[in-house]
Structure formats: structure tokens, C-alpha cells
Symmetry: C2
Subunit: 139 residues, 2 copies
DNA sequence: GTCAATGTTTAGAATAGTTCTAAATTACAT
DNA sequence: ATGTAATTTAGAACTATTCTAAACATTGAC
């Protein structure tokens, strides 16, 4: 159970004002284990904890935290964005059935040599997604 | 320049009726080199070739072709779906600047051993996306 | 060929996730 | 405390996509 101050300092050190909403959302995000959330999920958690925060603020905050390197945004499903509290290098399982993401520990997957990025560009990131499907839809 | 009949047979062999719209879209998709298109792009191509087809049909057709294994759907950007005419195993560059995809030939990347899929599930596919960014946004 | 049955297309409405707007509120340096 | 800049908010707007249900095309039997 981290002290309130931990979150305030974390937000401040990212160059953002530690507002009531940002502190509360940071608590939901960074209190426990690493997680993969959608905006809507986080908003609903906030509501059920009786927090006073708007959906727009949840979106703003998720993007600001991402911009600040506290979160990573992941595109696996074209319908919703996922935000990952684990910003270390790692890859993902995508469980199609329930729309959940799971981490694949780094080292579990190795990437061979890559073609060079064209001149004037550079590789920003490499994302591996292993999509998991229910095995009983294959007859 | 493939004959009309080629497309008709291709569509038929996928278990779909070779309708005027499906034939014309198949021509746009499978006439030349492999491509990565969005629904909107394909629709605009169709319009500029004076084809009579609706956007809903473009979406329907892309999904039916995907279902039938003629296309592969790719999620790199949460705002739009890409459809790939190359259904062989291969991975992608994503050029963030212009929203274009490029193929990474298979063999260029190697994936190490993976954790097992949980019981009752199986691995559907493994997708690697190498995001390329303009190198001048890094000071 | 005709015809019925089934499959397909379509325009436009609807949906859903996300972003925008501009007014109200809050944070914080002085 | 006060003023200024940053933040939040409700709701409207936006955009990609899907749905609806009526019109139309394709197919296979005759
Ligand atoms: Mn975003
Ligand atoms: Mn789709
Ligand atoms: Zn993760
Ligand atoms: Zn491809």
C-alpha cells in the first residue's frame, strides 16, 4: 500500500501537476501489479470507487501519462486502445475471446536481425503480439 | 494482366458468389503486387475507376475475403483496419508518418520459443510490427 | 430461357470509441 | 489571498465501422 505521496511525486517527476484526478487515476493504475487497461475500463473503476472524474479526463490523463513515459499504448484490436503500466521492453499475448492482454516476459521471444530503417528514419519500437484463440473453433 | 475469369474462379473457390462488385474489388486487390489497404482507400480507388459500389459493400467484401483466407486483417493503428493481400507468414514495418505498412520478408525475423497457450486454447497467429518513426523528433 | 429462392448490395441510420470545445474549476507562484 | 496558467468537464462533434431492411442480382431447377 503505497503512500499518497508516492503518486504525487511520480506525477510531478513526469512534469505534470499532481491534480486530484491524476493522483486518483495513478493510484488505480500503479497501486498493484502491472495492468493493461482500456479507457472505458479505467473510467468504470473510477466510477465504482465513487471518484469524481469525467471520461474526457480519463482519456486526457492516459495520453499524458503515455506521453510522459509512465504508460505504453498498445494496438491489438482496432476497436479500443490498451494502456500498459509496464513500460519495460516486453511482448504480449492477446486473448481474443475476452479481449484481455497478457505479458510475455522479455527473453521468452528473440528477434533476429532486422532490415535497416530507411534513411532519415529510425525504429521506434518492436511489438510482438501472440493471438490466442479458443481451440474449439477449428473443425 | 490476369483474365476476368481468374478472379471469378478465385472468388468461387473461396465459396463466394462472384458478383460484379466482388470481381471488381478482387481485381483492384489482386491484380498487381501485394498490397496493404484500408477500406476507405479501396473505396476511393473504386470510385476513381468509376465503379458503382457502396462503402458498405467494400467493408462486407473485405471481411468476407478475410474470412475466406484471401486477405489478412492487421491492427497497427487503433483508428483504421488494414487488409493485406499477402496471407503468407510475414511481418510488418509500420511507417507512422504516413500510416503505410511494408512487409518484412519471412526469415528476416526469428521468434524464439514461446510459453504454451493455456489449456483449451491455441495460438492463432504471431504478429511482429516494427514501428518506424521520423528520426528528427528525438531531441 | 423463366422463375423462385437465396444471397448480395445499398443508402442511410445507428453505434462506439475517441477527440474537441469552451466554459467552469483548480493549482500554485507571488 | 490573488492572479494567471493549467486542468477539468459536459456535451457536442467526429470517424471508422456496423446495422437495417428494402431493392437487386445470381443461381439452379425446370
Ligand atoms: Mn490515442
Ligand atoms: Mn473488422
Ligand atoms: Zn504488457
Ligand atoms: Zn504484409
Amino acid at each position: 500500500m503505497r503512500p499518497n505521496n508516492y503518486f504525487i511525486e511520480y506525477i510531478r517527476s513526469a512534469g505534470l501537476c499532481p491534480t486530484r484526478q491524476r493522483i486518483a487515476l495513478a493510484k488505480l493504475l500503479f497501486q498493484g501489479d502491472d495492468r493493461h487497461v482500456t479507457a472505458e475500463e479505467l473510467y468504470n473503476e473510477a466510477l465504482s470507487e465513487k471518484m469524481k472524474v469525467s471520461l474526457a479526463t480519463v482519456y486526457n490523463t492516459l495520453h499524458q501519462f503515455t506521453e510522459a513515459g509512465m504508460l505504453r499504448e498498445i494496438s491489438v484490436d482496432t476497436n479500443r486502445s490498451y494502456f500498459d503500466t509496464n513500460t519495460r521492453k516486453h511482448h504480449h499475448f492477446y486473448f481474443e475471446k475476452d479481449g484481455k492482454l497478457g505479458d510475455i516476459p522479455d527473453g521468452m521471444i528473440s528477434i533476429g536481425k532486422l532490415p535497416e530503417a530507411p534513411n532519415g528514419t529510425k525504429i521506434k519500437c518492436i511489438d510482438v503480439v501472440v493471438t490466442i484463440t479458443d481451440s474449439n473453433n477449428d473443425y
